[in-house]
Amino acid sequence: MSDALRPLAPWGVAALVLAVLPFIFASGAALTVMNQMAITIIFALAYNMLLGQGGMLSFGHAVYMGLGGFFCVHLMNWVEYDNLWLPLPLLPLFGGLFGLFFAMIVGTFSTRRAGTVFAMISLGVGELIAACSIIVVAFFGGEEGVSGDRTMGPTVFGLDFASQQEVYYLSAIWLMISAAAMYLYSRTPAGRMANAVRDNEERAEFLGYSQRKVRFMSFCASGFFAGIAGALFAINFEILTEENLNLATSGSVLLITFLGGAGFFIGPIIGAIVFTLLQTVLSLYTEIWQLYLGILFVATVMFFPSGLTGLIAIHFRPYHLGKISVLTKPYALIALPALGLALASASVLEIAFHARHAALGDEQMSLFGLSFNSHHPLPLIAALALGALCIWLLRRQLPSFREAWDEANYAGGPS
């Protein structure tokens, strides 16, 4: 491959994967999950323009996605009832512009400072608009939200977007466009200086750049792409409610971005995919999946602040040194007790939860294919014992694992 084409390779692969996916996962449920993923990826990438690229922590970014979405539902309704001519595939552009518009208003006062103050303002503005959604019924539709019908617009190449699959491809194309645009933005002077201001705002000012204006630009760009995500949400679900604006949604995008790794461009993408899968799968099997997510999130912040992508990235050095094989055996040795510990901990939580909350008289529960009485102490003791055993095994493996890790990262020959 020539050098000029090399940077394009990941994009080509991504486009190919997006094109092929519906043939592998063709069911309606799978398409719904994939659409959800595409929307979440765009939103998380937009969010990371603030958090990762610009060092701005927002607790209210759902607002820009939500506003873009609400606006697009109204656009769909105008198309349906008021003869507005607007092909559906262009809708995300207008959602983006609406998000941009509000970001420009809020950004004028919120980007004065980064850090804590920015975070508090974003929270206050986010709550303000979420609270307004109950009051301003004409735009937000009150408690029940606003809904529309995406199929009423002019057809494009004979497509009316009634099927999930057509919506999927529309989302996928907008995903590629948005991701590419956000990546390219990070390579422009405005994008580079966003990094510079994040790392050292004082130095950036003495190089001729106003930190406030650099942040303002990142904020607006982020609002634009969040609006695009909102528009795709509107197209996909045809309804928006207060839930699209509130703190829970703003919080989950922070969680997704941080889990994936805010320091990497690809971090939010990995975070969105993993989070959507976890959410879908875990919520099928357990009622307390949000507890697991909470534990995972806090553990990530404390122990792996560079996120999942960071965990992958630290293996590049051993890989480039040709020593990745040094790690195979230690990983295999800790894999089993680590898995055992995770299962044991989950069992303790599940048993305790069932014992406390199951309906009166319902004492039978099943876990990992086993059926037993949750009120009996034996299962709990068994789970605790398994956990203790695994911790003991892990502690035994730890020194040799650490040794192997140092060895794998050591540039010289066998030390």
């Binding site: 390579r187 405005a190 580079r192």
Partner: protein
């Protein structure tokens, strides 16, 4: 005098609360001059620096840059008028490569400003100019190293590189050799001499050897006041300076 001075301070004062750190400083630094500011610890050298570069605004008095009053401007506005500074504590972008550090210093000066339609990697002029500066500060081989992992002396050299990158006419360096060994100091002084050729240089420095080696003119700041501003020879000979400062400084060195 026909052309205005590069930097002109007129009755400059700065108080923090009730404490007056800079008192009625008046000073003119001509274009192309190499000017050093010396003085004992706590004399207000860094404060004076921060007043000139817009980090602080004066309580009273004027700062003029090439004849234009700049004392109410923001740091970035002053930078755009052709003044660039370095910091006493190393102030670089630690999570960026050496190359990117220098490039950040170039962006504004090369008119890229807040552009979001140029790709920085596709600008041959930008890349070429960055590489020229890298070779000027002898760091071409560190091109792709993260700035945060450089040695202290390398970081100081990089900081000077960032400072001069934009091509500012007035360069202000705040203790460029602080914390360096003798050989490192010698190297940095040579570097400063080279990269500030034909520019106005203002430097705050503790190392008397460096000061007398580098400067055309020296101002002595004691308790926020300038007690002398003259050629190195005259400053060295001045009884007032001897009494107020140099004596103790030389004793310290001995």
């Amino acid at each position: 005098m026909s052309a205005p001075a590069a930097i002109e301070l007129e009755g400059l004062s700065k108080s923090f609360g009730r404490v007056e750190i800079i008192r009625d400083v008046t000073l003119a630094i001509a274009k192309g001059e190499r000017h050093a500011i010396i003085g004992p610890n706590g004399a207000g050298k860094s404060t004076l620096f921060n007043l000139i570069t817009g980090k602080y605004h004066p309580t009273d008095g004027r700062v003029r840059l090439n004849g234009e009053a700049v004392d109410q401007l923001k740091p970035y506005e002053i930078n755009r008028r052709g003044l660039s500074r370095s910091f006493q504590i190393t102030n670089i972008f630690p999570r960026m490569s050496v190359f990117e550090n220098i490039r950040c210093g170039l962006l504004w000066a090369m008119e890229y400003k807040y552009s979001f339609w140029h790709l920085v990697d596709r600008q041959p002029d930008l890349t070429r100019r960055t590489e020229e500066i890298l070779s000027e500060i002898n760091m071409s081989d560190k091109r792709d190293t993260l700035a945060g992992v450089l040695t202290y002396a390398e970081q100081r050299a990089l900081e000077i590189g960032i400072t001069i990158a934009g091509g500012a006419d007035i360069i202000m360096l705040d203790e460029p050799t602080a914390g360096m060994s003798a050989s490192e100091t010698e190297y940095i002084v040579g570097l400063i001499r080279k990269v500030t050729e034909s520019k106005t240089l203002v430097v705050v420095e503790h190392d008397m050897g460096v000061v007398f080696d580098l400067a055309d003119r020296i101002s002595v700041l004691v308790y926020g006041e300038i007690i002398a501003s003259d050629t190195p020879e005259n400053v060295r000979a001045s009884a007032a300076v001897q009494e107020a400062y140099l004596g103790t400084a030389l004793e310290e060195e001995a």
